[in-house]
């Protein structure tokens, strides 16, 4: 009985220490070293930007086996912030994001295809406005290493091109504004 326990413990230690096993990271939303921003064309003349202030998530990543990387993120849609109260109210309302009916959006990765630079294409299921669809995010690796406070961090940036009407949001923002670009900055602290 005892030896079985130690065998198990030894195996567990081996697995967790194994370089083949991807490390788990929590997205540093606490220190706000991560952001979910959006960019949408204003009349084809300029960019309107804003962000979702509240979200959380974690990911697994190991530079030695990047293809095993995975990520889960949950976004509080009501934290939509375009730096304009009237517009925030309007966009959170039932004509647009309808945050009362659909308070959370989420992304769960299904596969990661790495490239030579440490980035790649992250595919996954995006749930937004109550609709789930597969999307692909172009990811760049920004950096990785020890932080000055005894932790270990890795960071990525990515862009997701989103067509809100494909998720059932049929509002009119004009022909130049059919695509929303989600600019993602994700820094994780190793657990």
């Amino acid at each position: 009985m005892k030896s079985k326990f130690f065998k198990g413990l030894a195996l567990a230690t081996l697995i967790s220490a194994s370089p083949l096993y991807a490390a788990d990271y929590v997205i540093d939303t606490k220190g706000a070293h991560a952001s979910i921003e959006f960019r949408i064309s204003h009349l084809g003349i300029s960019w309107l930007t804003g962000r979702f202030n509240t979200f959380n998530g974690d990911f697994s990543y190991d530079a030695k086996s990047p293809a095993d990387a995975s990520i889960n993120v949950e976004v509080d849609v009501a934290s939509f912030d375009s730096n304009h109260a009237e517009r925030n109210k309007h966009i959170r309302g039932d004509e647009y994001l309808n945050v009362k009916e659909h308070p959370t959006a989420s992304f769960k990765s299904t596969s990661f295809t790495p490239n030579a630079e440490g980035g790649g294409v992250m595919k996954g299921m995006l749930t937004l406005y109550g609709t789930t669809k597969e999307v692909a995010i172009d990811v760049d690796k920004v950096g990785e290493g020890e932080d000055p406070w005894g932790g270990y961090r890795v960071g990525f940036s990515g862009t997701l091109e989103l067509k809100p009407h494909e998720f059932g949001m049929n509002y009119k923002l004009g022909p130049a504004a059919e695509t929303v670009y989600m600019d993602l900055n994700i820094e994780g602290i190793r657990k």
Binding site: A78, H84, A85, E86, N88, K89, K172, L173, G174
Partner: protein, 189 residues
């Protein structure tokens, strides 16, 4: 039947000051409520998007100012005493009138708090900027928005009851309640 020439109220009649303020607020409420619904229906691409909300907010500010003048006026220059009617109805009228003032105050205040939630000023007909309060709360625009809608809807319903009661006084009781509010008075000053 003659027009009352006096500005202020006396024991039996309304002066034209309070009368004008009453009808201005009445017309504004009747106009602003559907305008609010219309604004809700506008999308950003609508040509009216830049003008109609400015009108709604500017007229709302006029209502707020008129309302404050009216309340202060009422404190110093009492309305005429109520015309005789059953005690229960007199009480109901008193409660309804008080409630109309309260709902009006909440409606204009919550409207102001939506537009100024992020510290932005409200443009009064593009003439003056009405500044925001120095402090706000989290999601103020959403909370104030809910209150604005619920209270404005209650206000329009109570105003309809108020109008129906006035018509009842005029056509059924055949008293001068409505005529008084039109600054009309019986012959002979």
């Amino acid at each position: 039947m003659v027009i009352n020439h006096k500005l202020t109220n006396d024991a039996t009649s309304y002066g034209w000051g309070p009368v004008i303020m009453h009808w201005f607020i009445a017309l504004a409420v009747i106009g602003l409520y559907p305008l609010g619904w219309y604004i809700e229906s506008l999308d950003y691409y609508d040509p009216a998007y830049k003008t109609i909300p400015v009108w709604h907010k500017s007229i709302g500010i006029l209502v707020a100012v008129t309302l404050l003048v009216r309340i202060v006026w009422r404190l110093f220059n009492k309305p005429p005493s109520p015309l005789p009617q059953p005690a229960a109805l007199e009480l109901a009228a008193k409660v309804a009138h008080g409630l109309l003032y309260i709902l009006l105050l909440i409606t204009v205040t919550s409207g102001y708090l939506i537009s100024t939630a992020d510290g932005r000023a409200i443009e009064f007909f593009n003439l003056i900027s009405i500044p925001a309060l120095p402090v706000g709360i989290e999601n103020q625009e959403d909370i104030a928005g809910e209150i604005h809608f619920i209270v404005a809807t209650s206000l329009i319903l109570l105003a309809a009851l108020h109008a129906a009661a006035a018509l009842k006084h005029h056509f059924i009781d055949k008293d001068s309640t409505l005529k008084r509010m039109l600054a009309l008075r019986e012959e002979a000053e």
